[in-house]
Structures are given as structure tokens and as C-alpha cells.
Amino acid sequence: MPVTGTEMLITGADLVKAAAFIGAGISMGLGAIGPGVGEGMAAAKACEAIGRNPREAALLTRTMLVGQAVSESTGIYSLVISLLLLFVV
């Protein structure tokens, strides 16, 4: 049953779409905070470790990138959920 507001015509399907859009924004927005901070921590410590022991730079960089890739995964989950909310659901 449509509900008319002042200038709006809101139906059930429209409300569902609106909620999906807001959900997509919140999912990607909040989901990006953790990986951003986590990867920054990993990189900061990698810089420290290379500063202490520059000869192991290659090993340390590789470890940093592996660690960051794992930390990135939750960001990618958020991206997937956002895209599902936008295009599939």
C-alpha cells in the first residue's frame, strides 16, 4: 500500500531498495576502517624492523605484504557485500 508524504511516494519495494543502498554504504564505509588501520600498523612495524635490520629488507617486505593481504580480506568481504546489496539483492 503506497504511503504519500508531502512530495514523496513511498512503496514497499522502494523502501527495500533504499535500505539496500544505505546498507551498501555502511558496509563498505565501516568495513574500510579496520583494514586501513591494520595494514598501517603492519607497514609501520615493517619500517621499524627494516630500520633496525636493513639487510633483511626483502624478507620483511614480503612478510608485511602477506600480513596486509590477510588484513585486507575483511575489506574485500565488505566490498563483496556492498556489491551484492547494490546489484544482486
Binding site: 513511498i10 535500505a19 543502498f21 574500510a32 586501513g36 595494514e39 621499524e48 636493513p54
Partner: protein, 405 residues
């Protein structure tokens, strides 16, 4: 349904805004002052003979941190007793926006100003004869930390006193957005610029000969760390003064709110991240004054990368403000635009902080191990690029929400 007369609506907004202004505004100043007092006690226990000097420095530092709280109190009192001549929806929105703007904007500056006050107390305990020099540097540093609170006060007074001559519902959304944007946008820069100021006070006690190098570096670092707050001010001023012409209420109101949240929230991460980098560079110069060239250069590169998430936020804000959206009777197109702003704003916080942490680590170790500057700079940029990726995902989702949906 019930109807509210415009006079009551404006009063409601003003009283809510007043509460929010001093409610949020009191948090930062109190935290900063508490931290200063805690460190002053530690300092006195270290060197009880200097108790008088330390207490003086603590009180002066706390007074500066308090100013953010006092700005909030002034705006709250104004909102409580301000009478609007010609009450309408836009007035109500601008008063609520003014309260939010001042309250949130004072949060960061209060916390930031506490840091130099605290470090000065510790430094005086270690180097009693430098007490006066430390006091001067502390005052300069904490004055810079107050910038975002002052910008917020300016925007909030403009929201209260200026007459926009346009009482439409769109103007109401734009004015509320202007307040929110500057309020959120000041948090990161205010708290972040406390780091260089605090580390400079600490560094002068460690290396008194490097005072001028440290003060210069502090000012450069803290100035760059104000950029996100200034981006937020630019968006606020645009929302207040640009004439957007004859745009449809729905979905433009949501585009304006989205534009405000995008830059405002994005500025939190970049502002604080930039401050962490500047703090590490001041610490590094105090440890190794010879390394000043490489340390300052890396600081600037690191800060520039830490600003990018906020620049993405600014970009999304501009798109939301200036793209013309077709009129619609449905709710979902509006929510897509609001969501685009929320997505980019929150999504930029993490990468901004992460980029700042990475550069903090690199700058700190370049000061200790200058021969490996090139290697550390390279690793810093790789690490920052990875940390940036989630901000880019957020930007992609925002652009999809704006252009594809």
C-alpha cells in the same frame, strides 16, 4: 500527523544544538586537561623541587586547552538565548548545525592542546633551566591545535547570525550539512596537531640546541595537518553560500547531507594520521638533528599520502554538490546519495590513520638509520598504497551509488 509552528521548531533546534555544543565540546577539553594534570603529577614526582614551575606550566597549558571548551560554552549560551526574527525551517536547521559544528569541532582541539601541556611538564622536570623556553614553544604549539576549534566557531557563528534569505527545505539541508561537515572535519586535525607540539616540547628538553629546527618542523608539520580541517571548511562555506539554483528537493537534500558527511568524516582519519607523522618527525629530529633534511622530506611525503583519503572525500562531496539529480518521488534515489557520502566518509577514516601510522614508523627510523632513507621511503610508500586500497573500494562504491544506481 501533528503540526509544529516555526517558532517552536526553531526553539527546539536551538536548545538541542546548545546541548550538543557544550556536551561534545566539553569532552575534548576535559580529556586534554586531565592528561596534562596526570603528566604534571608524574613530573613533580620525578623532580619535586620544580613543583612550582611545573604547576605554572600545567595551568597555562590547561588554560589554552580550555579555550576550546569555552568557545563551545559561548555558542551554547548564544543558542539558548538567541531570538530569530523570522522563524522558518532553514533557521532551525542552521541553529542545530551551529551547535553540532561547535561541539564536534572543539573535541579534537581540546585533546590536542593537552599533549604539549603534558609534555612540557615532563620536560621541565628533566631540564628545569629551560622552563621559560618550553612555555613559549608550548603556547605556539597549542595555539596551532586550537585552529580547528576556531574555524568551527567561525562557521557556527555564521550559521547563527547570518541571514541567508532563503527559507527553502533545500537550504535547511545545506545549512545543517555545513555545520556537520566542519564539526566532524575539525576532530582529526585538532587532536593530530597535538603530536608535533608535544614531541617538540619533549625534544627541546632532550636536545636544547635543536630548538629552532624543532619549532620550524613542528610548524610545517602542524600546518599540513590542518589541511583536512580546511577542506571541511571549504565544503561548509560552499554549502552555505553557493546558489545551487532551482534544484528539486528530493533527492538534492540527501546529496547535500552526503556531501557534508563525505568530507567531514574523511577529514578525521587524514587529520589525525598527518599529526602522527609530524609527531614522529619532531621526535626524530630531537634524537638526530643532522637528519633533519631527510626526516622533513619523508614527513611531507608521508603526510601528503595520508591526505589522499580526505581528497577522495572532497571529490565525492563536489560531485554530490554539483551534479544535477533528476527529481524523483521515490525514497531510494535519495538514500543512494546519502549512502555514497557515508560510505566515502567512514571509508576514508581507516586508510587516513593507517597511512599516518606507516609514515610515522618510516620517519622515526629514518632519524635513527639515515643511510637507509631510500629503502625506508620505498617500503613506506608500498605499505601506504596497500592501506589506501580500502579507501579506493569505498570511493568505487560511492561512485557506483551516485552514477550507476
Amino acid at each position: 500527523m501533528f503540526e509544529i509552528d516555526p517558532q517552536s521548531l526553531v526553539k527546539m533546534a536551538a536548545y538541542t544544538g546548545g546541548g550538543l555544543a557544550i556536551g561534545f565540546g566539553a569532552i575534548g577539553a576535559a580529556l586534554g586537561e586531565g592528561y596534562a594534570a596526570a603528566q604534571a603529577d608524574m613530573a613533580i614526582s620525578e623532580n619535586p623541587k620544580m613543583a612550582g614551575e611545573i604547576t605554572r606550566n600545567m595551568l597555562v597549558g590547561q588554560a589554552v586547552a580550555e579555550s576550546a571548551g569555552i568557545f563551545a560554552l559561548v555558542v551554547a549560551i548564544l543558542l539558548l538565548f538567541f531570538n530569530v526574527a523570522n522563524p522558518n525551517l532553514a533557521n532551525a536547521a542552521s541553529l542545530l548545525g551551529a551547535g553540532l559544528c561547535m561541539g564536534l569541532g572543539a573535541l579534537g582541539s581540546g585533546i590536542g592542546s593537552g599533549m604539549p601541556a603534558a609534555e612540557t611538564c615532563r620536560a621541565v622536570a628533566r631540564q628545569p633551566r629551560l622552563s621559560n623556553r618550553l612555555l613559549t614553544v608550548m603556547l605556539i604549539g597549542s595555539a596551532v591545535c586550537q585552529t580547528p576549534a576556531i574555524l568551527s566557531m567561525v562557521i557556527s557563528l555564521m550559521l547563527i547570525f547570518l541571514n541567508y534569505g532563503d527559507a527553502s527545505a533545500i537550504k535547511a539541508a545545506a545549512l545543517l550539512g555545513a555545520g556537520l561537515c566542519m564539526g566532524f572535519g575539525g576532530i582529526g586535525s585538532g587532536a593530530g596537531s597535538g603530536h608535533p607540539a608535544g614531541e617538540t616540547c619533549k625534544g627541546i628538553a632532550r636536545q636544547p640546541g635543536a630548538q629552532s629546527l624543532l619549532t620550524t618542523n613542528m610548524l610545517i608539520g602542524a600546518a599540513v595537518c590542518q589541511t583536512p580541517a580546511i577542506f571541511a571548511m571549504v565544503v561548509s562555506l560552499m554549502l552555505m553560500f553557493v546558489n545551487f539554483g532551482d534544484v528539486p528537493l528530493n533527492p538534492t537534500w540527501a546529496a547535500f547531507m552526503g556531501a557534508a558527511l563525505s568530507t567531514g568524516l574523511a577529514a578525521i582519519g587524514s587529520g589525525y594520521g598527518g599529526g602522527m607523522v609530524a609527531g614522529a618527525s619532531c621526535e626524530g629530529i630531537a634524537r638526530q638533528p643532522r637528519a633533519v633534511g631527510n626526516v622533513t622530506t619523508t614527513m611531507l611525503v608521508g603526510q601528503a599520502v595520508a591526505q589522499t583519503p580526505c581528497i577522495f572525500g572532497l571529490l565525492i562531496s563536489f560531485v554530490l554538490m554539483f551534479k544535477m539529480f533528476p527529481e524523483t518521488a521515490a525514497l531510494s534515489p535519495s538514500m543512494a546519495l546519502l549512502s555514497a557520502g557515508i560510505c566515502m566518509g567512514f571509508g576514508a577514516i581507516g586508510p587516513g590513520l593507517g597511512n599516518g601510522m606507516t609514515a610515522e614508523g618510516a620517519v622515526r627510523w629514518i632519524a635513527r638509520n639515515e643511510e637507509d632513507t631510500g629503502l625506508l621511503m620505498r617500503i613506506m610508500l608500498v605499505g601506504q598504497a596497500v592501506s589506501q586500497s580500502t579507501a579506493i573500494y569505498a570511493m568505487v562504491i560511492s561512485l557506483v551509488l551516485i552514477f550507476v544506481i
